[in-house]
């Protein structure tokens, strides 16, 4: 979380003397956002591509996609990125995998941001015992290893039905089926990722709360709601944005990791992690099964990280560019 620490030190809105360059002039932002845009386009257009017949169906198993020994084909003219062990088109699967990664990544980021901002705000604004308890709770969550926690949570999602009501009462409306899918996945990842955000926000709220204009507003009799909505929230928004973008990168990485461990979105849905997991058995004979989805993961995570890095620089130009 060096991002927020950097923002914190600079006293962001107080340096009107330093002119900001235009957002798009920052090359990191430019590179990151165009990559993200490209990925969003790929995710959006992939199903249309299948309909328009210039992309193959990602889950259709084709005999033309296997060689005489039933092994996957390497990248070539017919299959641009080769085929997998079921004779499915890797290019189409990777493009469709963008949908899962982006959806889960962004949704998990939203979950983590909502929890993190809420808890960080409560702890930072009210302080005292509330702060102590909430921060211990955050620490407890931080001490649990994220990937292991996520795997354990995902392991629980095996399709069983949980009855939230006493056995004698027929309130089946409350029944909850725990099954693996995109929704449970982004909830899990969000629940694992929030503590970092919570800590950063708490620090920011503490810093903003101590500034003169907040003190003045309070002295004039502004209510807590007004202080939070009008003064504190707008001032911590840049931090939230930077951390959220980087959180998205981490969530996508975690989603791929869970897929790789075999507890992501269940097959035959094309996800990058599960493609790697299935492909690694053929690694020696068909390395493209590992290379292609892996490259897609790196590209996506890199895109969000570059964007985050660039936004951080843009919000705080004194830090990096001064010589």
């Amino acid at each position: 979380m060096s991002a927020a620490a950097a923002l914190d030190r600079s006293g962001m809105s107080e340096k009107g003397a330093m002119r900001r360059e235009a957002l798009w002039r920052n090359r990191l932002v430019l590179a990151g956002s165009s990559l993200v845009l490209l990925l969003v386009l790929a995710a959006w257009l992939a199903p249309f591509g299948v309909k328009a017949k210039w992309l193959r169906n990602p889950i259709q198993q084709m005999s033309a996609g296997l060689d005489a020994d039933g092994m996957p084909l390497p990248p070539g003219r017919q299959f641009l990125a080769g085929t997998d062990n079921f004779g499915r088109d890797v290019l189409s699967r990777v493009l469709h995998g963008t949908r899962v990664s982006l959806t889960v990544g962004v949704a998990a980021m939203l979950v983590a941001t909502i929890i993190g901002v809420w808890i960080g705000m409560l702890a930072g604004y009210w302080g005292g015992k509330m702060d102590l308890l909430l921060m211990r709770f955050t620490e407890m969550n931080m001490t649990l290893p994220a990937i292991l926690l996520a795997v354990a949570l995902a392991g629980v999602m095996d399709g069983r039905v949980v009855h939230l009501h006493p056995a004698a009462w027929p309130w089946h409306g409350l029944d909850l089926q725990l099954k693996r899918g995109m929704v449970s996945l982004f909830l899990i990842i969000g629940l694992v990722c929030w503590p970092g955000m919570g800590r950063v926000i708490r620090g920011q709220v503490l810093a903003v709360k101590a500034r003169e204009f907040v003190q003045a507003s309070r002295a004039l009799g502004a209510s807590d709601t007004r202080l939070i909505l009008r003064h504190i929230l707008p001032n911590i928004l840049p931090t939230v944005l930077v951390v959220a973008v980087m959180l998205t990168a981490n969530a996508i990485l975690l989603e791929a990791g869970l897929g790789y461990l075999g507890v992501g979105v269940p097959p035959p849905a094309p996800t990058w992690g599960s493609m790697l997991y299935e492909g690694q058995a053929y690694f020696i004979s068909a390395p493209h099964l590992v290379m292609v989805p892996g490259a897609a993961i790196v590209l996506t995570v890199l895109a969000f990280n570059l964007l985050g890095q660039g936004l951080q620089e843009w919000f705080d130009p004194t830090r990096e560019r001064r010589r």
Binding site: M140, L148, A249, G294, L302
Partner: protein, 304 residues
């Protein structure tokens, strides 16, 4: 100082207790047929019944929590459902591998990150600094399991420079450690860079330069020493995290460490081992937090 220490110790213990409770609830609150997991799909009803008796699976949750915490208080992490080996023993047997891997990796990435961080801070804004920033971001974006497979295929299988997998000696640690080092070096290079910049802008560095101190001494003796203090905090936490299990890298290279143990336990639904490894890793992180906090106060007199 003593009061501060006792206060920290109290909260560390409480954090651990909370973590233990959280883990217990997480693993136990959703009912699954654990007896079936232990005995396998073809077990007879008698065997299932015996297992339920042995592990108190009949009892209500709060009673099981009672047994669990009494056990923990006695330092007993329970026995594996699958191998019946005591969990503490399994962790102890695998700790040296993970520790050796962690130490090798830390040495590797710090040897790379320190020169990178210092030189990019010295020449900040230069093309060298900017391209290091992009490369560091790339290092942050690599998935461990993919990088491990890539290096394994290319450097071990194709070129034959390293053993492919398994653990027989130090040579088997080099490639896994290099994988970890590549994953961490970017973050540390930027971290050292950021703290170096802050230090180099401070008045005492200006005085040192004005006095005609050689640049080498300014950078490394006055600059780096102070810049490394905050880095130690994060390094401590990361080392603790790695010691708690390097899941992907250990798995790909088939190293018999705690990460492999953790992954296997998840796949086998081996509840005591899952809880044991999670608790162990949580213990390390809490302990590292405590040690780093005290160390910090000792290194930096301003905080006393």
């Amino acid at each position: 100082m003593t009061g501060r220490f006792l206060f920290r110790l109290f909260w560390s213990a409480l954090t651990l207790l909370g973590t233990a409770l959280l883990t217990f609830l997480l693993v136990n609150v959703v009912p699954g047929d654990v007896a079936r997991v232990i005995a396998g799909p073809k077990a007879s009803p008698q065997v299932l019944e015996e297992i339920r008796q042995r592990y108190h699976l009949h009892e209500p949750l709060w009673k099981r929590a009672g047994y669990h915490f009494r056990q923990l208080a006695a330092g007993d992490l329970g026995h594996s459902f699958v191998t019946d080996q005591p969990v503490a023993e399994a962790i102890r047997a695998r700790l040296p591998t993970t520790a050796a891997l962690t130490v090798t990796a830390v040495v590797m990435w710090m040897l790379l990150a320190v020169p990178l961080g210092v030189s990019t801070a010295k020449y900040r804004g230069s093309w060298f600094d900017r391209s290091t920033l992009v490369l560091a971001t790339l290092s942050l974006s690599l998935p461990a399991f993919w990088l491990a497979r890539l290096l394994q295929y290319w450097l071990a299988y194709k070129l034959g420079w390293f053993p492919v997998a398994g653990f027989l000696g130090f040579a088997h640690l080099l490639l896994p450690a290099a994988t970890l080092a590549l994953l961490y070096v970017g973050y540390y290079a930027r971290l050292i860079h950021a703290h170096m910049i802050e230090v180099l802008d401070s008045p005492y560095i200006r005085s040192a330069r004005a006095q005609g101190t050689p640049e080498r001494v300014v950078l490394f003796k006055h600059g780096l020493r102070n810049a490394l203090i905050p880095v130690v905090t994060i390094l401590g936490m990361d080392v603790a995290g790695l010691l708690g299990g390097v899941m992907f890298t250990e798995n790909v290279f088939a190293l018999p460490g705690i990460g492999t143990l953790a992954v296997q336990s998840v796949f086998n639904l081996d509840v005591p081992v899952i809880m044991g490894t999670v608790l162990f890793s949580a213990f390390l992180v809490v302990a590292a937090n405590l040690v780093v906090d005290l160390l910090y106060r000792w290194i930096d007199p301003r905080l006393r």
